[in-house]
Point group: C2
């Protein structure tokens, strides 16, 4: 232990959601897509032969960037690919914030942000949402050594969204890059991609894990101005994305018909789930993601999580210091949600 840097010695580390490798669970705890990815993705992956696997992948993921550029309406040199958007968040912290520098992030938010600060040896500065999940102007206040600001939008665990107008205002006021983590944005009504062209300090990160049902593949991308992208690409591992994930992600982003249908199914189930859980006494903010943040004023929710787990339904119990606890429940398939809704009343 004495060999490690002091910040690594004291590191708790990021705890991912439970990923049971054995047994059959209804898994509503880590916001994976309720449905399997389209056949087009599997076909593309299975089309990769041994010779190709024996070669290094394309370090620039050219095929994906070309496809994404077309689908998203941006230039391909605005796109940088990562081994999941976690890889990109790591790259961003390493590129902008040194030891002793400050990284600001919204709170409660994605619990990886403070861990990335701890690993880097920089200071994480959480800025609290209001109780209604709005964010006030203190998020963009200037501060010494502030080098990066990160905001998930839609946010986790709330599923709520800050409007593009407010994001733009934050970007204009902040003295540093603003990362808008849009991992869940395909389930939302608006996104910030168009703003990237207007603001050189705005960076949008995306993930193929959620809306494209490819959490197992590890593929994400960011969109930012080409000058930032060029420099960030020097910080990434050369071959951070493997051949199979580039091929699979390319097929996935091109399959817009599947994406549209999938999104509509999940939004429809989300709506039904929101109503039913509200009727059971959960307070749930308006979600634009593929999960619902369910809190109760009458009791702590850990018991419910434990009881559901015994019934082999996994949801995510979250407890945020100085904020409160709740259950973050992924929008599953209709049968999965029915099973949850049927059993839940007996646990309240």
């Amino acid at each position: 232990m004495e060999y490690f840097r002091p910040n690594i010695r004291s590191l708790d580390g990021y705890t991912p959601g439970e990923q049971p490798q054995q047994g059959k669970f209804i898994k509503l705890n880590t916001n994976e897509n309720a449905y399997a990815p389209p056949d087009s993705v599997l076909q593309a992956i299975r089309g990769v032969d041994g010779v190709r696997l024996s070669r290094y992948p394309d370090p620039d993921a050219t095929a994906f960037r070309a496809a994404a550029a077309t689908v998203l309406g941006v230039e391909s040199d605005c796109i940088l690919c990562g081994n999941g958007s976690d890889d990109l968040l790591t790259i961003l912290v390493r590129a902008f914030a040194g030891e002793g520098d400050t990284v600001r992030y919204s709170y409660p938010g994605y619990i990886l942000y403070p861990t990335l600060c701890d690993i880097q040896g920089c200071l994480g500065e959480p800025v609290r949402y209001e109780k209604n999940w709005s964010m006030n102007d203190s998020f963009s206040a200037n501060a010494n050594h502030l080098r990066l600001a990160v905001l998930a939008n839609p946010n986790s665990p709330s599923g709520t969204v800050l409007g593009a107008d407010q994001i733009l205002k934050f970007a204009d006021t902040l003295p540093c890059p603003l990362v808008v983590d849009e991992a869940y944005v395909d389930f939302a009504d608006e996104h910030c991609l168009a703003l990237v062209r207007e603001r050189p300090n705005l960076i949008v990160t995306r993930s193929m894990s959620k809306s494209h049902a490819l959490a197992g593949l590890r593929f994400g991308y960011l969109v930012a101005n080409p000058t930032l992208v060029e420099r960030l690409s020097r910080v990434k591992d050369s071959y951070n994305c493997d051949t199979l994930s580039i091929v699979g992600a390319t097929a996935a982003i091109l399959d817009q018909r599947w994406s549209t249908e999938n999104r509509e199914k999940i939004k429809s189930t989300r709506s039904r789930m929101h109503q039913a859980l509200s009727e059971m006494g959960f307070a749930i903010p308006h979600s634009q993601a593929n999960f619902l943040w369910c809190t109760r004023s009458d009791k702590r929710t850990r018991d419910i999580y434990e009881k559901l787990k015994l019934e082999r339904i996994l949801v995510r119990y979250m407890e945020y210091p100085e904020w409160g606890d709740g259950l973050r429940i992924t929008v599953g398939t209709d049968p999965q949600v029915d099973a949850l809704l049927e059993i839940l009343p007996s646990m309240l």
Copy 2:
């Protein structure tokens, strides 16, 4: 640019070998395996269904670690998996060396080491090999702020090996962890795995890219004492290895028959290639890797690289400041090597 940390602003970045995406080349420049991986690997990958891809991978890569533990004769809690061994090298630098700390590495060696230091903001301290590719004791000398020492063994570009006795002596003398990068070790006569049990500061990294013909998959692992492994696992991205690479790498390491045959074929071709190139006037140290380091006293070798490229044969031209230049040529298939040997005399 002003947003970046000063060390990132001045970063040249690591330049990987050319990976032509178009056209047909005999590719002897990036030390990929000359042969395709076994069918067992492709079968395993193609057996992964869509539902599994939609789920996050096992963050601990349990299946691979169990398989590797059996094959290598170590405990599975001594193993940490990475998105290629580059990912592991990144994790190691981040875990042990802060800004202003020193990382020592052998020179000329793997050109990623200085880049990792630049990205981290720590000081890289190259220690030169002797002209005969031996290494003197200065490699293990104590120094202020020395936090990590890294040594590729077999080394690139030389393909040469330092004996286990000397590695052990370095580990005993150094005040910090010693990383032995064994990316090429399956083509060598000895390795350092057994030493890990004896020395708590010894860390061995391995890659599936070279001897298992899976450069496209991005999978590596390290072997170290369990206390180090546990702490290092907190520094990695939770889901740094994807489902397909875990499945493929597991099948690969279990296919020892293929590995043995492949290794013998490459060693046999290497021997023939060494002799033929020597007869053409190249000076080549004794290689225990899947490449040869070919220098000439009569001329610079860049011309030869350029001429070969025009003939669609790619080799790696390397120029090390204050050391010299040379061609690092991967051991290809016999027909590939024949093509090289046939055309080369006309270029000398």
